[in-house]
Amino acid sequence: MKGDWSLVGFTVLGQTAVGSSWGLAAAWALVAHRAGNEVAGAATSWGAVAVPALSTLAVAVALLHLGRPGRAWRAVSNLRLSWLSREVLAVALFAAAAAAVPFAPARDRGPLLAGTAILGGVLLLSMVRTYWLRTVPAWDSWATAALFLQSALATGGALTALALALRSPHGAPGAAQTCAAAVGALALAVGPLLEARWRSALRRSGGAAAEAAGRLAAGVSLRRGRLATAVVAATLLLGAPALAPPWRGAALAAALPLGLVSEALGRALFYRARVRTGL
């Protein structure tokens, strides 16, 4: 589990960045449609800085699990066969595209945000495929894709709502901010339900999958912690748009770290379910 914490950090932070890139691209399109490109560019300016910062942090955290971090550059040497290689390339391209957004003129950010969001989708897909190992039945399932997507929407929604609120702390919450908070809250609430359904499906499968279900069931404190933080974070996200300006920002600022903790605990459960077929 020691090295797993760095991968928990990488996947959760990376998926937060991906979800935020989707949220920002959608917010840009919504605001640009109503108030023009200039306003849309300004509204997404905080988020445009947060996404590359998070992606870079995710990569830095991922290096911690390597036995030889100095050789990390070799990780793109097997693009022909390895989804892990493709994941590393995807995260590098995504971070580079995200880093270019803040330097673009505010009114022209739309296409760049859209491009980053598409690369974010590619990154999420490569993350899922990396864990679809035919020898690890608990991961080689629909649940990996569902849990990763749910994480991206939960924490990405929370970060998008906060970034939009930070840009106009005293204004009324726009439709984009309300939608991002609602998506984040819904995805946070769905996480524990998905995990329960996954555990139930594994238990029925027998063999290594059933052993993985047993490990998930034994992680009682992780499950309780995840559920508690998810409920509080989702409540804050749903309630924030109705609050007065100083409290709205505070609620969103509290919801994001709680959401991250919730998803990190869920991810720790995911790694706990790593039981190979065979020896």
């Binding site: 036995g67 070799r74 097997n78 035919r134 020898t135 065979g278 020896l279």
Partner: protein
């Protein structure tokens, strides 16, 4: 060139672990790294039979190293292209290219790639390629006092004593291991209720 693979006769293995020790000695492996491991598969228990209690316990040993698979999953998942498949079937690992990410160790259903904590890289069985080239047997095969282990052409070995892989070996269709086994008489019982009894010893 002929393919090369191991054969293990689990019906005759006593679990003495001479193969494990010889491998460790031949390759100078550090503490905690075992390229060849001897798993103790055990099961059964006590059951009531009228006024008497009878046991149906069983145990057998399974000596396993890298099986130099036909579709090696280590080679598929390694992001650094540290693995290669040689013409003679040996799956070679160049530890100088390894990042120590552990992806191969996660994926291999035989637990063959082992992380060397001192060097921060993964290492694994080389099938004693130098010894093979010199006409000698790998250290594990040469050391086995009961001649349980053999090395050679997998098809030839399978014709001599092949049987379905005993539990808890995985379905061979997953990776196509170059491994031939002769099952222990209790292998069938292990399907229903066998477990590896020495997980801690084999480092998992």
């Amino acid at each position: 060139m002929t393919r090369i693979g191991f054969a293990v006769d689990t019906s005759a293995c006593t679990g003495c672990k001479t193969c494990q020790a010889a491998c460790k000695d031949r390759n100078g492996l550090p503490v905690g790294v075992l390229w060849r491991r001897v798993y103790e598969v055990a099961g059964g228990g006590w059951r009531r039979d009228g006024a008497a209690w009878r046991h149906d316990v069983f145990a057998y040993s399974l000596s396993i190293s890298c099986n130099h698979c036909e579709q090696p999953i280590c080679l598929e998942v390694c992001p650094a292209s540290a693995y290669s498949k040689l013409p003679n079937g040996i799956v070679e690992l160049d530890s100088d290219r390894c990042l120590g990410c552990g992806a191969c160790a996660w994926a291999c259903p035989y637990g063959a790639p082992q992380l060397d904590p001192e060097r921060g890289v993964t290492t694994k069985c080389t099938l004693c390629a130098e010894d093979l080239a010199a006409g000698r047997s790998p250290a594990c095969v040469a050391a086995c006092p009961l001649r349980v282990l053999e090395v050679g052409d997998p098809e030839e070995l399978a014709a001599r004593f092949g049987s379905p892989p005993p539990p808890p070996l995985p379905d061979p269709s997953l990776t196509g291991p170059a491994l031939t086994t002769r099952a222990h008489r209790d292998a069938g019982r292990a399907v229903a209720g066998g477990r590896v009894a020495n997980r801690e010893e084999v480092g998992e």
